[in-house]
Symmetry: C2
Subunit: 260 residues, 2 copies
DNA sequence: CCGTAACGCGTATGTCATACGCAGAAGGGG
DNA sequence: CCCCTTCTGCGTATGACATACGCGTTACGG
C-alpha cells in the first residue's frame, strides 16, 4: 500500500534508519555544523548528569552550542533521539570469556546477564526510556545474537533459545529498574541507601496488619529485611533460579525426542 | 530530622496517605462537591479509553465536570493520581482456588501469576505508569501477601519467599509490557497483530547479516518466528522455567540444613 | 555562475502541570 | 446568634516543552 522506494528497499522507521547509519548524506547544501554523533553524545551526557528528564531538545541544543530547532535537521523526533541514546549508551557486547574458554552454557548465560546488567547500572537513565517494541537496532541485535550463542551448546530448539534470552534479558532489566528506583529515592531525599530501606521497613511496619498480612508480618519480624546489604543479592538469587529453570528444560529436551 | 506529628504518627508520602484513606476529612469548610473516588474513576476511564497519555488534569476535570485546578483539592500532584489509578485498576486479589483446594505451592503460584497477568491485560495502560519504588499501597501489599501465602507449604525461608514473589511478579510485568507494546503497534498502524509480527520479521530479515548474526539467521530460517500464534506462549514458557527454578531451590532447601 | 537543495534558526502554537490568590460556603466558639 | 476561621471551586498566570513553519543563507552540480 504505502510502498515508497527511496534508496535501499522499504520504509524503515526513521529512527532505525538513523541507528544503522543509513541516512543518505546528500552532497548538496551547506556543510552540516553538527553531527548525529555529537548530538547523541551530548544527550547522553545530560542524561548521565541530570537524569533522563533533563534531556530536552533545548537543553541538548544548548549543550552542543546550537539552537533548539537545528537539532531537527539531524533527528526527526525526540523518540528517535531516545533510540539513539539507548544504542550509544548500551554499546555493543564484549566477547564472552565463557565461550572462549569452552565453559558451558550456564556460565556463558550468566556472564551475558551480568554484562548486560553492568551496562544498565552504568546508565540508570536507560531504564526510564520506554521500551518501544522488539529489538531492531544494531547493538540490540548484537546482544540478542550473543545470548543465542551462549546457548549454542545447550541443544535447545532455536525458538526456545530466543525465549530464554528474552526471559533472562527481561529479568535483568526488571531487577535493574528496582535498583534505579532505590537510587532515585536516595537522590530525592538526601540520605544514604540504608536509611531509605530502613525508612521503607518502618513504613511497612506501620501499614501492615498482622491479621490481614501474616506473611509479610512474619517477614518483618524475621529481620530478613534489614540484613542483606548486598546490592547484588536479588540479582544473583533471581538469576540462579532462572538458570536452574533453564537447566530443567534442557534436561527435558535432551532426554526426549530430537524435534525437527 | 524532619519529624512532624500530625494526626497518626509519621510523615507518609501524601499519595500513600490517600491510598490508605487516611485523609483527615475536616469538618470545617464547604461540602466537597467531588470525591477522590469519582476523580480516580474518571481518570481510569480516560486511560482505558484513550491511553495513559490522554490522562491530563484538564481532561479528567472535564470528564468529572469540574475545573482543572479543583482537582488539586483532592490530589496533591499528578503522580498521586497515578498511584491511586494503579490501586483502583489493579484491585485486590481474589482468593486463590489452589490454596483452598489444598494444591501445592506450584499450582498456587501459577494461579497467582496468571491472576496478576489478567489484571494487567485488562488495563494495559497500567504498564505505562513508571514504577515508583517498592509496594506500599493496600492492594500491592495484599497481592504481595497472597504471593507469600502461595509459598506457605514450600518450606522456603521468609526472605526467599519474598524474593521469589518479586521475581515472578517482575516476570509477569515484563511479559505484559511486551504485549502492551505489540498492542500499541497494532493500534498505531491500523493493522492486525499478525501483520505487525510479519512486518517485524521482514525488517529483521533485512537488517540481520548472516555472517554477523548466525544465531538470529538460523532462528529466522527455522520459521519459529512465524508459527506461534498463541499470545500466551511466552508467558507460559517463562512461568514454567521460573517455577522449575523455584522447585530446584525448594528441593535444595528441603534436603539441606534448616538454616536459622 | 546560477538554481536548488540543505542548512541554522527565530518565531509561533498548542499542550501540560501547577503556583497563587480570590470569593463564596459552612461550622463552631464567643 | 453571629462572625471568624477554614475549606471550597476555580480563573489566571507561569514556565516547560515538543515541534510546525518559513526565512535567509550557503555551497555544490550542471
Amino acid at each position: 500500500m504505502a510502498e515508497k522506494s527511496s534508496s535501499g528497499g522499504g520504509d524503515l522507521p526513521a529512527s532505525l534508519e538513523a541507528a544503522w547509519g543509513l541516512r543518505a548524506r546528500p552532497a548538496k547544501g551547506p556543510k552540516p555544523g553538527l553531527s548525529l554523533e555529537r548530538i547523541v553524545a551530548a544527550a547522553v551526557d545530560v542524561a548521565s548528569a541530570d537524569g533522563l528528564a533533563a534531556v530536552s531538545m533545548g537543553r541538548v541544543a544548548q549543550e552542543v552550542g546550537a539552537s533548539t530547532m537545528s537539532l531537527y535537521r539531524y533527528v526527526s523526533a525526540k523518540d528517535e533521539l531516545y533510540v539513539l541514546m539507548q544504542e550509544a549508551a548500551f554499546g555493543p557486547p564484549e566477547p564472552l570469556s565463557a565461550l572462549e574458554s569452552g565453559a558451558g552454557w550456564r556460565e556463558a548465560l550468566a556472564e551475558w546477564a551480568s554484562a548486560q546488567r553492568d551496562r544498565l547500572h552504568a546508565h540508570l537513565w536507560l531504564l526510564r526510556i520506554p521500551v518501544g517494541g522488539p529489538p531492531a537496532t544494531p547493538n540490540s541485535l548484537a546482544w540478542w545474537e550473543q545470548g543465542i550463542q551462549a546457548l549454542e551448546g545447550s541443544g535447545l530448539a532455536e525458538g526456545d533459545k530466543t525465549s530464554v534470552v528474552l526471559l533472562v534479558s527481561n529479568f535483568v532489566r526488571s531487577e535493574a529498574v528496582l535498583m534505579a528506583d532505590l537510587a532515585a529515592a536516595v537522590v530525592a531525599r538526601g540520605v544514604s541507601p540504608d536509611e531509605v530501606t530502613a525508612s521503607y521497613e518502618r513504613t511497612l511496619k506501620r501499614l501492615v496488619d498482622p491479621a490481614r498480612h501474616p506473611g509479610i508480618s512474619r517477614l518483618l519480624e524475621s529481620g530478613a529485611m534489614s540484613e542483606p546489604d548486598d546490592p547484588d543479592y536479588e540479582f544473583t538469587f533471581g538469576l540462579e533460579r532462572l538458570l536452574d529453570g533453564v537447566e530443567a528444560l534442557i534436561r527435558k529436551t535432551d532426554g526426549g525426542v530430537k524435534s525437527a
